[in-house]
Symmetry: C2
Subunit: 714 residues, 2 copies
């Protein structure tokens, strides 16, 4: 067993399912923040040992108290540090001394409050690192694990009730306020949250590690997370891979998607958030369902909690009124789902069970007689379930109140006879029947758009691409690439000139237009004769960024004379640069222009990008991003997602382009980015020409910027 | 007073505020469909005369009954026809005989059920046309006018309660089920609907006319409508203009936006729906807020009902937690609103009132001490209201339950001190405080995205463009255009050849590349010499559509010889066409390619379209549409809304293009489309080159198709 799975077992057993809980600083007052956990543990029926620690009292809320954690006999699975920020480190050390494996720190006053708090938090992290104790928090609300009634929290959301409905959802939130709101609303809707954990400042345990723990729990089948930032990209990706492998969907809300939001989140968390676009790409790549907000998360979780899956995007919509069915159809199509008309055979079958004034086409109009004839609804649902194009069923009701019991019963019965998802859109009425339907695994929504958004997420999950594989190329020459980099660093540069960049890319088998350096016009003319005309002449200098601004690029030169003359002009224009030479480059054959790139995200590491070239990339913001490395098939799928992909696929009678070669180049670039992650800060190949099918690609203009530090010698 | 405003007065007084209501076929059983209206009228306290008509009874539900409508003494304002489809026409005739101005027909069994029903419905329409009586329905739920407790409906949504909360909303729905659901949910949320009317099959009165009536009502300030189709485009536009002029926002849900939805709606309503894209364009053009569905309508109506307006798109967000504020900021920015960081001066002012661990930047983090310090919230709200960049305030709360009274009170007070919109996002908790806030004009939402979607609609309303003006050009030669059309019709064609199309467009001053017809290669060469080289030679034939498929277009011909030879080839290629000649056309100067077009919508009439040219129009679906005619300023705004507009405005250092000339050409084209609406079915000018600023535009390839019927002589 490796370390991380051993840690996962410790956390599952001692944090989420502890048999004994010590509460340092426990108050006898059940309303005080440090008194509430005991009151909740008692009220919700926790069966393990409750161990209050309070040197000033014999008992706390009727339970015998200890003077210190060391005074407890027998093991303590979990300790709650209910003390101030200043005293938290000492309390944690006492836990270490006692051999407690996991602790929770409530107190605020740490990194969120400035420098002094940050130092206190660093001390906690150091204790964890040295001793191996694991810590949740500080500045957190704790956790609620419904299975064993582990209510180690001061959240007032537990003020009422005496049972904790459990369920298949495990939820990790970096925000206590958000997490508690979501958890309460899910429970209000009859959807049980088995485990809810708030990670707060994450001095030790972070959201990704806790999600990994929940992925390993046999009573969790849906994972939710609310994130303000990801602390460790690799750990997050490992978690996502594990959840993918276990077929446990992960639904994520992550803030900071807008520029203004990103600005605010970085001031709020004080942490490096990484690019939101990279998180978004990671989510797509590893099958995480990123949803935009509160109700999207509730709605999606409710549907996923049924455990049902969609095999495709096709809905069968059965409605009480034509208009409501059309509204739902509009919403479905705009969410990327399909409501396809049924063929004559199936229409005839449906027509046998619905009223003559209804419509059997899909959306299927059952008319208002649905209320008076629940049997008709039942029979129509049976036909719809049988239809091979039904990946999910949507029943749309409006103001049904009288007669709703029979309708609910027909819906529950139908759900029990199929494992396809069945959801109800109940636009009007009191909303009261929703609970009975939820108990039968039938989510109810009060708005067609919300229902189809949830279904769309489920369909997206069903259609998630396989995890990206590692690219395998046996012709890659990493040493040659590192050699070019080392020489540039030796001359004090972190910016490669175009010839160097071309060499690094060529070392990884990325096709670049042939190019050579020349110091003089005559040398340039000689080189040009060895290439095929026409050629281009560009200034070659690590000092000069925007060559075209300088009039230092000459394209389409047809012969030696024009090359010599162009080289002369270019060298004159670049007179300011100390190292100026010229690059003589063969002009690429024509093709569709695209762009490839690499950036190095501070959280997730190297990413590779493909974008429509020329005017389109900016006009459309048409680009796709993924973590490096990725195999050619995954690269091809990303390319296929571009709007501009149509230009590669024989658009309007044009030539089909060599998309396979582009995917291979992207995969090779991603391998380069991953192999040399410590050295490469940024790569930009723009344009890369995609030639006719079978004729490959040619990169033309390449920029490579190195990291400041570098990877050193290997 | 013209006829339509006199009709509006009749409908307002007799349909919506009747002083006497006759109920034909009234049942003594208050639970039966024909008994419910009387039970509701009594229970909700209608003060006018209730006049049951039932030949078999002395009294109905305790009220003296009449044997027939003719037996009633004194005037009857409104009659409800509570009889079967077969007996409805007779009942309507009795109303006519009695002099009743307005009737409502409940019964189903009309056009929605097939041919026989359609004939019955046509009979009702005929009675209305002949007699002048106005009819709501048939196949409708009737109406509820809260002001006078006019509950002429059998909707079971009135089964409970004894008061009808009124409010500034007037709602017209083509679907009874949808309308009742929305109305009930608005009332449940504390938002009063003053008038709710269901139009059903619209044998006489349609949704647009009823909206016009509500626009004229002094106690209505917000109009809602649910539409499955528009019966009369002109009436709808007139209504929209009136609502615009009265500053009464119209919120519309219209189904059929998707292809599958449009297919279903046309089978459902059995009526010509017109293009959804045209409805969408009309909505934009006339300031109608089209929203996608149920909750979007509820959320927007709730905000509009406060009567507050936004002067711009800028939100100030104050939140109880950093993350929730960021989430709201993300949502706002993705909805097109702005959450701009405050400058140092205003940050300093805010910092004085909020806790030191909060953030004064915007989104403003008030921290959880907001709960314990409602005074702090109040002071922060005052600063936020004063900030000149605050167009609306958003307060974001999570799980506040303890202490919520003081928070609610601070929010209510703040709202009373400003006329800027103040909305609350209350993510967690019970939702109970929402009602108290609604009463104070503070809408509460439980999801940031829903709040900002409503605010975005309000901002869009505030920024709605002026109504399009009529274009005025004094050089238009309508007679010349009609002459070309008449000649084509005389030769049995509804498709103009390119020369004819060019002449029609030129008659309206739309710049087209000069072009002349030639019968032989020699004649073509002669003509070319009078133009400027290079020229193009194309086959000229009304029979041939896709010229380029035929190899019958030769571009860039530099001299007479090449013209003669090209004409020879083109005529040979078109040998099959009986009328083949060649068109010699001057090549247009270079410019940015766009496209202009005209279509004639069956509901709304002629529309004009502008689209990005070349590959972009299809790749981006980058086009904008508007009803004809429109003035150049409105045309320019449409052009500015294209993604490709950036290509006209000096994109990436390119030339600025003559956008003004394009707007003028579009306006001229719209005038042509409107003037010749009876004759023109379709126009396509693709491409039209937009030259450098000041250098105008040149249309190159033009197609015109005429209507089958034509407008006849004028």
């Amino acid at each position: 067993m490796n370390e991380s799975s051993s840690d996962a077992r410790v956390l599952l057993e001692h944090l989420l399912r502890p048999r004994s809980i010590a509460l340092i600083g426990a108050s006898d007052d059940p309303v005080k923040l440090t008194g509430r956990p005991i009151e909740y543990l008692k009220r919700f029926g926790y069966q393990g040992r409750i161990l209050p620690i309070n040197p000033n009292r014999e008992t706390v809320q009727g339970i015998p108290a200890y003077s210190s954690i060391g005074a407890i006999e027998g093991p303590v699975d979990l300790a709650l540090l209910g003390v101030s920020a200043e005293r938290t480190a000492d309390a944690l050390r006492e836990c270490v001394a006692k051999g407690v494996p996991v602790a929770i720190a409530y107190a605020s006053g740490f990194a969120e409050t400035g420098e002094r708090g940050a130092a206190l938090q660093a001390e906690l992290a150091e204790i964890c690192r040295e001793s191996g104790i694991r810590l949740l928090g500080p500045n957190c609300l704790g956790l609620v694990a419904a299975r064993d009634a582990v209510t180690v929290t001061f959240s007032s959301s537990l003020d009422e009730g005496d049972t904790l409905p459990s369920g298949p959802i495990g939820f990790v939130s970096q925000s206590g306020a958000f997490g508690t709101s979501i958890t309460s609303r899910l429970r209000d809707g009859g959807v049980g949250v088995g485990y809810y954990v708030n990670t707060g400042n994450e001095a030790d345990l972070d959201a990704a590690e806790l999600l990994s723990v929940l992925t390993a729990a046999d009573d969790v089948s849906v994972l939710l997370c609310y994130l303000e930032g990801v602390r460790d990209g690799r750990r997050f990706v490992d978690m996502a891979r594990a959840a993918f492998a276990a077929d446990k969907p992960v639904v994520a809300v992550k803030v900071g998607s807008s520029a203004a939001g990103a600005r605010a989140v970085s001031s709020h968390t004080g942490s490096m958030a990484g690019e939101d676009a990279v998180f978004d790409a990671v989510a797509r790549q590893f099958g995480i369902l990123r949803v935009p907000g509160v109700e999207a998360m509730l709605d999606t979780a409710q549907l996923l909690a049924t455990g049902r899956r969609m095999a495709g995007p096709n809905l069968t919509v059965l409605s009480i009124s034509g208009g409501a069915g059309v509204l739902t159809t509009d919403a479905a199509e705009s969410a990327g789902l399909a409501v396809a008309a049924w063929d004559a055979h199936w229409q005839a079958r449906m027509a046998q069970v619905i009223p003559p004034f209804g419509s059997p086409v899909n959306p299927i109009d059952l008319t208002a007689s649905l209320i008076s004839k629940p049997d008709m609804l039942a029979r129509a649902l049976d036909v719809a379930v049988e239809h091979p194009g039904t990946d999910a069923l949507v029943v749309v009701l409006t103001n049904v109140e009288r007669g709703s019991d029979a309708v609910v019963s027909a819906l529950r019965d139908a759900a029990s006879r199929t494992d396809k998802p069945l959801v109800v859109v109940w636009i009007g009425g009191s909303g009261r029947p929703a609970r009975a339907l939820a108990d039968a695994g039938v989510p109810t929504y009060r708005d067609p758009h919300r229902a189809v958004a949830a279904l769309s997420a489920l369909a997206e999950y069903g259609a998630r691409p396989p995890l990206p594989g590692a690219p395998e190329f046996d012709d890659v020459d990493t040493a040659a690439a590192l050699d070019v980099i080392a020489k540039a660093r030796a001359s004090g540069r972190i910016r490669l000139d175009e010839l160097e960049a071309t060499k690094v890319l060529a070392a990884y088998g990325i096709p670049m237009a042939p190019a050579y350096a020349a110091a003089t016009p005559d040398e340039a003319a000689l080189i040009a004769q060895r290439l095929m005309f026409p050629v281009a002449v560009k200034v070659l200098s690590a000092d000069i960024g925007h060559k075209s601004d300088l009039d230092a690029v000459k394209l389409g030169l047809p012969n030696s004379e024009s090359v010599a003359s162009a080289a002369h002009e270019v060298l004159a224009a670049a007179a300011g640069a100390s190292d100026a030479r010229v690059l003589v480059q063969q002009m690429a054959r024509p093709g569709q222009e695209l762009a490839l790139g690499v950036t190095n995200d501070p959280v997730f590491g190297p990413t590779v990008l493909v974008g429509s070239g020329g005017v389109l990339i900016e006009l459309l913001d048409d680009r796709a991003l993924a973590l490096a490395p990725l195999d050619p098939a995954t690269a091809d799928a990303l390319i296929g997602g571009l709007r501009g992909a149509r230009l590669l696929d024989g658009y309007r009678g044009g030539a089909r382009r060599d998309r396979g070669a582009l995917a291979e180049a992207m995969s090779r670039l991603s391998l380069l980015a991953a192999d040399l992650a410590d050295d490469i800060a940024e790569i930009d190949i723009n344009p890369i020409f995609v030639h006719s099918e079978g004729a490959g690609v040619t990169g033309v203009d390449a920029l490579i910027t190195l990291t400041e530090k570098g990877g050193g010698h290997r």
